[in-house]
């Protein structure tokens, strides 16, 4: 048993949803647990073994001095470091602070702001340490997570496409919400992975898998204007769960300064 790969799961600022995806893989969990040793996963176990680990899965963004130091230690303990979810790969929804005065934000929420220690920015893990693979999504797709772990252990490239949500929409036969109904949809610039859920629920994609490999955000911005959206609305639509991903950041800032 000592020869099985050792996996650790770490959490930073996040909602716990992405690590929960592992527990949500109800059909695969006991199988995965048989193939690897999950030796550090505090959300699921009291047993917390020390590193080094073969694979470290990191959820969450860096928002405190303490966490900025902790991620350095985590990196040193992990042979492969994989970040999971929009918080870890793009700073998460909490990166909305990056355009604001964080002290004012803290005052809005807490009566005694001096008790709170937080950084001005919420930043993805890759801004702090080298990352071996970034698995996108808010939340991640559990099947992609299982594929990624399997591929990593087998030493092959994971089958995780970087094309857009549009491809998934076509494949499932969903009628395009932009063309047919004039609904603003981030699908053309957003990476696939969710299965094109939102258009299948009669709504536009809101970009929770972050930018696809070569997003034409300028063209989409123009389309949104044609659909009657103003610059503030367009800027906000790029500014959600992957707001700090540079392609979306740039697109939102261009609207702001248009």
């Amino acid at each position: 048993m000592g020869s099985k790969p050792r996996i650790a799961v770490f959490k930073f600022a996040s909602c716990d949803g992405c690590q929960l995806s592992l527990l949500d893989a109800e059909d695969e969990l006991l199988g995965v647990a048989g193939a690897v040793d999950i030796v550090y996963f505090p959300e699921a176990s009291r047993t917390m073994l020390k590193g080094p680990y073969d694979i470290g899965l990191v959820e969450g963004s860096i928002t405190t001095h303490h966490d900025a130091e902790r991620i350095q230690q985590v990196r040193r303990q992990c042979r492969m470091l994989i970040t999971i979810g929009a918080c870890a790969t793009a700073g998460g929804i909490q990166a909305l602070r990056n355009w604001k005065d964080v002290d004012e934000f803290v005052r809005v929420v807490y009566a005694t702001p001096q008790y709170i220690s937080t950084l001005k920015m919420s930043t993805p893990i890759a801004e702090h340490v080298p990352v071996d693979f970034e698995l996108r999504g808010c939340p991640i797709n559990k099947h992609q997570l299982i594929e990624l772990i399997t591929a990593t252990l087998a030493g092959r490239k994971p089958n995780i496409p970087a094309y857009s949500v549009c491809m998934e929409c076509k494949r499932r036969g969903t009628v395009c919400v932009v063309v047919a109904r004039g609904v603003a949809c981030l699908g053309p610039v957003t990476q696939a992975g969710c299965g094109a859920l939102c258009p299948s629920f009669d709504r536009g994609c809101y970009g929770c898998y972050g930018p696809m490999e070569s997003p034409n955000t300028g063209s989409l911005t123009n389309q949104f204007r044609i659909l009657g959206q103003n610059d503030q609305q367009i800027s906000q639509s790029f500014r959600s769960y992957n707001a700090w991903a540079w392609q979306f950041r740039k697109a939102s800032e261009e609207c702001e300064h248009a």
Binding site: D16, L30, A44, C138, C194, D202
Partner: protein
């Protein structure tokens, strides 16, 4: 864990959602101080919601918690609907109950089998537990999946589903779609019943407290989305008056605000409160499950909350089946949002307890102010009070056992620290 002189420390308390710590200071056998420390980094939702459009809120607040996103979507939708004067379609109301039942089943099964049962059966986690109790763990996973199937069918995915909207849903399921869940839910109903019997056979510490229980209460149904806020000490209020009665305190050792009842102090929200205050609204089958488990009213032993959760799973499976049987699709999936300014508050029953939201909205639909009080911040003070009374009775025992028992006492509340602001770090100082 290490024991050196008068200090007992555990670096992390596991199997809770979020990062926190516990500090207990003792003098002899007397507890001098108990602090539930939450160092989960603040994410500042209430601040960045300002300036966003109210239609975005259900999606955004879901991201507060990956375990109970629907609770956030529900409280937010109801509060915004109240602000805008939107009346929802009765079919949408029924669908929301069904959606919520999915989350209750998923979250309760997660907590019972994966997070709490290992304490009672003496394992560090469910995976180790599965080596000796494979059937039990598999049953738990299948139950969890039954809840998640409801959510996935109605919302596209288990975590952060995409269908909930102010005024209703972006898209509602078909009757045929819902019927595909029935066989699974019938199995889940039986499995919940047997789960209740199983967990009722665990050993419970002899510990009771005189709690003030707070939960929603509705004249005709076990509470999920609607009802007045009531307590066993005479509180009966509308959610609109919540902030007159419940206050928040910011303590220097926690990134989560502590809630308390004005003039009274700590109170308890969650399964135990709902059960004690709403037993008569449980369907007969859930009442029967409770009686079979020997749950007498009132149940004041927090360790028995695991049994109550199982009874609530019986309820949720039964209720889900009822909702599916009665469902007729609404004329429109949602009521369009009105362009008017307003203030609205609402509370719903998250799996862990009461979840309060209030929003102030301008005439363009922009959020001017948001206030969110999650169940774990309401229970924080109560968790500390439990430990204050629980620890002295543990004193002759070895340090390792005391620590484990304290962790278990915290896990009674299924604390979701990501909500309240993950790991509990336990430190006991002895003088």
């Amino acid at each position: 864990m290490s024991q050196g002189g008068k200090t007992i420390r555990v670096d992390y308390l596991a199997r809770v959602e979020g990062e926190g710590g516990l500090y207990i200071k003792l003098k002899g056998d007397q507890v001098q101080e108990v602090q539930l420390k939450i160092f989960e980094p603040p994410r500042l939702f209430e601040a960045f919601l300002r300036g966003r459009h109210s239609s975005e809120v259900p999606d955004i607040v879901a991201r507060i918690c990956g375990i109970c996103p629907i609770a956030y979507q529900m409280s937010a939708s109801h509060a915004i609907e109240r602000a805008l004067g939107i009346e929802i379609d009765p079919s949408v109301r029924l669908l929301r109950r069904l959606f919520y039942c999915g989350e209750w089943i998923e979250s309760h099964a997660l907590h019972i089998f994966m997070l709490h049962a290992p304490d009672f059966l003496g394992y560090p986690d469910a995976i180790q537990m599965a080596r000796d109790h494979r059937g039990t763990v598999e049953q738990g996973l299948r139950l969890k999946k039954a809840g998640n199937r409801i959510i996935t069918l109605m919302g596209g995915r288990e975590i952060h589903p995409v269908s909930a909207a102010v005024g209703g849903f972006h898209k509602v399921p078909s009757k045929t779609g819902l019927r595909s869940l029935v066989e699974d839910l019938k199995w889940a109903l039986d499995a919940s019943f047997s789960t209740a019997r199983l967990v009722a056979g665990f050993e419970f510490p002899d510990f009771e407290q005189d709690y003030e229980f707070v939960a929603l209460s509705h004249p005709d149904e076990y509470p999920l989305n609607e009802g007045r806020l009531v307590s066993n000490r005479g509180l009966i209020i509308d959610a609109a008056d919540y902030e007159e009665h419940f206050l928040e305190q910011h303590v220097n050792y926690s990134n989560a605000l502590h809630s308390y009842l004005r003039g009274r102090g700590s109170y308890l929200v969650g399964p135990l409160a709902r059960f004690n205050l709403n037993f008569s609204r449980l369907p007969e089958i859930a009442q029967q499950a409770a009686r079979d488990c020997g749950l007498a009213l009132p149940c004041r032993n927090p360790f028995r909350s695991i049994v109550v959760r199982a009874v609530e799973m019986v309820f949720a499976c039964h209720e889900a089946l009822r909702a599916i049987a009665e469902y007729e699709p609404p004329a429109a999936p949602r009521v369009e949002m009105a362009g008017r300014a307003g203030v609205g508050s609402a509370a719903t029953e998250a799996p862990r307890g009461l979840l309060y939201h209030r929003y102030e909205i301008d005439e363009r639909g922009t959020i001017l102010l948001a206030k969110i009080v999650p169940p774990t911040s309401q229970n924080q003070k109560r968790i500390e009070d439990d430990l204050r009374h629980f620890v002295p009775g543990l004193m002759p025992r070895p340090a390792e056992e005391i620590t484990l028992r304290c962790e278990q006492a915290v896990r009674n509340y299924d604390p979701c620290i990501s909500c309240a602001t993950h790991f509990l770090r336990l430190k006991i100082d002895r003088e």
